[in-house]
């Protein structure tokens, strides 16, 4: 009987302490999708910034939409970004996945939205990455260095 009592008490103590352990595990598990989203966001913005900063001439811009942007870099490399079906691609290769929203916005030197590529001064990009039921919004502004200050 004493042994049974000990087992019951140990079981109760174990169940109580497992709540704390499970909570820690749950927190860790929920941080994994966030880390994954942060990584993709970081990779996407880093590549986008480098490309747009290296935009040679606004005359090379061939695609100028909210979900597409194509141009030629100073080094002559053609670059094309496209958002389709939740994925962002760069030259047809996957750059980010599970985006629930993505959009380019083009601003002129006065800070007003423009639909004329020759007026391009600043590129805005806004997006939301979805991971594990969590939404990670992001925003960035990039200015092509060839366009001066």
């Amino acid at each position: 009987m004493e042994l049974v009592m000990v087992m019951v008490i140990v079981g109760i103590v174990g169940a109580a302490s497992s709540v704390a352990v499970l909570e820690s595990m749950r927190l860790y598990a929920s941080s994994m999708p966030r880390m994954e989203g942060t990584y993709q966001s970081d990779l996407m913005l880093q590549r986008l910034r480098r490309d747009v900063r290296a935009l040679g001439d606004t005359a090379t811009v061939t695609d100028f939409g909210s979900e597409r942007f194509s141009f030629v870099r100073e080094d002559g490399e053609p670059v094309s970004y496209a958002f389709d079906g939740g994925d962002l691609t760069r030259n047809g290769q996957l750059l980010a996945t599970n985006l629930s929203g993505f959009g380019f916005r083009y601003l002129g030197a006065a800070g007003l939205a423009s639909s004329d590529p020759s007026e391009l001064y600043l590129l805005e990009v806004e997006y939301v990455i979805e991971r594990g039921g969590q939404q990670l919004p992001g925003y960035a502004m990039v200015h092509p260095r060839s366009l001066g200050r």
Partner: protein, 184 residues
């Protein structure tokens, strides 16, 4: 030594109690019941522990991916080429970085682990899992350029996405050109 009246009364009470309830240990039946219950509980727990194996494999895939991300970020941050060399036979991944003086793969040096400050080497045998296959172009090494873009260890462009197949089914995909690293 003479006992006080109060102590004598307590001792008498203890003696009576011992006579009416003689001390005894657990019977064999009680022990058998406890052992049976414990065996049943253990038997119920063991089948549900298969998640540990799968968790271990996931950890191995995540650690491998994180090591590749580290090499990629290092390349972007320092503008120096980095390499991740897979040793499939030893289930090992080692990271390298181009020397500050340049020189490409000839003068590369081990990339240091930020925690241990020693050469970054990931040993999957410690996790009881490993690499089944590594397809990085023509070899088993991936190189990240200063844009974070991947290529084969010798600098040859990928003709398809790079792939690391882990024991147990997990895969790490290295998307060509963009360098996006995905655990699948």
């Amino acid at each position: 030594m003479r006992q006080s009246g109060k102590a004598r009364v307590v001792n008498t009470a203890r003696t009576r109690l011992a006579r009416s309830h003689p001390a005894r240990g657990a019977t064999l039946v009680e022990l058998a019941i406890v052992l049976t219950v414990m065996a049943l509980l253990a038997g119920m727990a063991v089948p549900s522990l298969h998640w540990i194996t799968s968790a271990r494999r996931n950890v191995a895939a995540t650690q491998t991916r994180n090591a590749l991300v580290y090499a990629q970020r290092w390349a972007v941050a320092t503008q120096r080429t980095t390499w991740a060399d897979f040793d499939v036979a030893q289930d090992r991944l080692s990271l390298f970085v181009e020397a500050t003086s340049g020189g490409g793969p000839v003068l590369r040096q081990p990339l240091l682990d930020p925690l241990t400050r020693s050469a970054f080497v990931l040993e999957l045998q410690d996790l009881g899992t490993g690499y089944d296959d590594v397809l990085m172009g023509a070899d088993q090494s991936v190189q990240f350029d200063p844009d974070g873009a991947p290529s084969g260890g010798n600098g040859s462009a990928f003709s398809a996405d790079g792939l690391v197949r882990m024991s147990g089914g997990a895969r790490i995909r290295v998307v060509q050109q963009t360098g996006l690293l995905l655990v699948e």
